[in-house]
């Protein structure tokens, strides 16, 4: 917040509605409101509105249902927890059978510990946003290899990351592939595909190979107008970054997620349209 002597701003007025105005600002805000009675009126309407919302979303007094009681949840956890021995056995099994049979065992083995996964997310976010910030403003050399050599680009980056990558087709959302580049990251090489739409908005898809079978949820970060979605799936960490609002980026992230879904590579199963189990 601003210093005691600064002019009254909208943040002060909002803070006064929430009762969060620092005491040293109170006098100056009061003087301002005395000079602008219609502003005082506006704030009192905000205060009324705040009160009405609180009333509309009042806490229900019906009590906490059993399924949400902590004691109940803890009891459930004890019941469902795989035993320590089972976890070790599963880990041994996973080591023994490797990638093929490991899939089943994987379900029982804790993957990346959550703190490691938080650190990974934060690193990938930082790197992907930094890369986007650096290369999306390049007019002449935003990419190392252009979209005219897409097959070569994808093959090259796949080889360096040790994973089969795809350059997602985002044309349905108006973004065309410009090309891509290889980037250094702490844990190995990372790949970046850059896209652009008709309005000149650039978008980057950042991939990093990770040593984990974990599948995480989408995480979101916003930083100085740049927003990014991150997730880990199938041995890759993904970060989709653009100077675009969350909603728009979400659609893009979903499309990238879908196109990277390994289901397309599996033997064809009878389709079950519209009926996800």
């Amino acid at each position: 917040m601003r210093t005691a002597g600064g002019p009254v701003g909208e943040d002060d007025l909002q803070a006064s509605v929430d009762g969060r105005l620092p005491p040293e600002r109170a006098a100056i805000v009061e003087a301002y409101l005395a000079a602008y009675p219609e502003e005082r009126e506006r704030l009192s309407q905000y205060a009324e509105q705040r009160k009405a919302l609180r009333a509309a979303f009042a806490i229900s007094d019906e009590g906490t249902p059993k399924r949400l009681r902590v004691a109940h949840l803890l009891a459930e956890r004890r019941r469902n927890r795989p035993g320590r021995l089972a976890q070790i056995a599963a880990a041994v099994l996973l080591l023994a059978v490797g990638g093929v049979g490991g899939w089943t065992a994987r379900e029982f083995v804790p993957r990346l510990t959550s703190s490691a996964s938080t650190i990974l997310a934060s690193t990938v976010f930082d790197d992907a946003i930094a890369a986007h910030r650096t290369f999306s403003v390049e007019t002449r050399h935003p990419v190392e290899v252009g979209a005219n050599e897409e097959a070569h680009l994808v093959q090259w980056l796949s080889k360096r990351l040790g994973r089969r990558l795809i350059a997602p087709d985002l044309s349905a959302l108006g973004f065309q592939l410009m090309g891509g580049r290889l980037l250094p990251a702490d844990s190995g090489p990372a790949a970046l595909f850059m896209y652009e739409n008709g309005k000149g908005t650039r978008l980057s898809c950042y991939y990093l190979s990770v040593d984990s079978a974990e599948e995480t949820e989408f995480k979101y970060r916003e930083e100085n107008g740049i927003s990014a979605f991150y997730w880990v799936d199938g041995g890759l960490a993904y970060a989709i970054t653009a100077n675009a609002p969350r909603k728009e980026l979400l659609k893009i992230a979903e499309l990238v997620y879908q196109q990277n879904s390994p289901d397309g590579a599996k033997p064809k199963e009878p389709p079950a349209p519209g009926k996800p189990s």
Partner: protein, 213 residues
């Protein structure tokens, strides 16, 4: 690979099919079993009514789904207790978990094609119909649900849940300036809905004030 209906549903199936809802909750859980349970239980228990209220508002009055969301949040909080930052407060930590869960549930729902049904609803039937002061609140809630979702969330966290601006920024993962501008825009828009027409002068002044900042 062409995205189409079959591949979409199989993507959803890949997420949902191998695991029941219970197993879904376990995914990514922290698997920690240490710590003082009674203390943990009491601290978390005290927050449940507020979490339910927030979930209820986010999910537009769908009690069943709101309680599912709270249950997911609590399970996660219990298993990730050791990751709680001691300097941060428990309440905003729980809200953060809940809000992130909400976002990822929305994503899953979209992948299942339920998005329109779930988030484009313009009414809050559960709330409007379920409480005594229903009629008084109906207009307000209708106007509220017409706000952009990000403004609704800020108004809830700050106006209803009483989080500080810093806490709300942390929960949403956005800078505090973003929180302040969403708050200001949301309140003004709601005011115009509630008290009728635009006042050009005050709008101009607001714009000027924001520039001063």
């Amino acid at each position: 690979m062409i995205p189409g209906a079959p591949s979409e549903s199989s993507a959803a199936a890949r997420i949902l099919a191998p695991s029941s809802r219970a197993a879904l909750r376990l995914r990514g859980s922290c698997m920690s079993h240490g710590g003082a349970m009674p203390e943990r239980a009491a601290l978390i228990e005290a927050q449940i009514p507020r979490l339910r209220r927030f979930a209820y508002a986010l999910l537009r009055g769908d009690r069943e789904r709101a309680d599912d969301l709270v249950q997911d949040t609590l399970e996660r909080a219990l298993s990730c207790w050791h990751l709680r930052r001691t300097e941060g407060n428990l309440r905003s930590w729980l809200y953060t978990i809940l809000y992130n869960r909400f976002l990822s549930d929305q994503l899953r729902a979209r992948r299942r094609g339920l998005h329109d049904a779930l988030t484009e609803a313009t009414e809050l039937p559960g709330i409007a119909g379920g409480q005594e002061a229903a009629l008084e609140h109906r207009d307000l809630l209708r106007a509220f649900s017409a706000l952009p979702e990000e403004q609704q969330t800020v108004l809830l966290l700050i106006g209803v849940e009483d989080l500080s601006y810093e806490e709300a920024a942390r929960v949403l993962g956005v800078p505090i300036g973003t929180v302040m501008s969403r708050l200001s825009r949301g309140r003004e828009r709601l005011r115009q809905h509630m008290y009728g027409n635009l006042d050009d002068n005050s709008l101009r002044r607001n714009a000027a004030l924001r520039r001063v900042k």
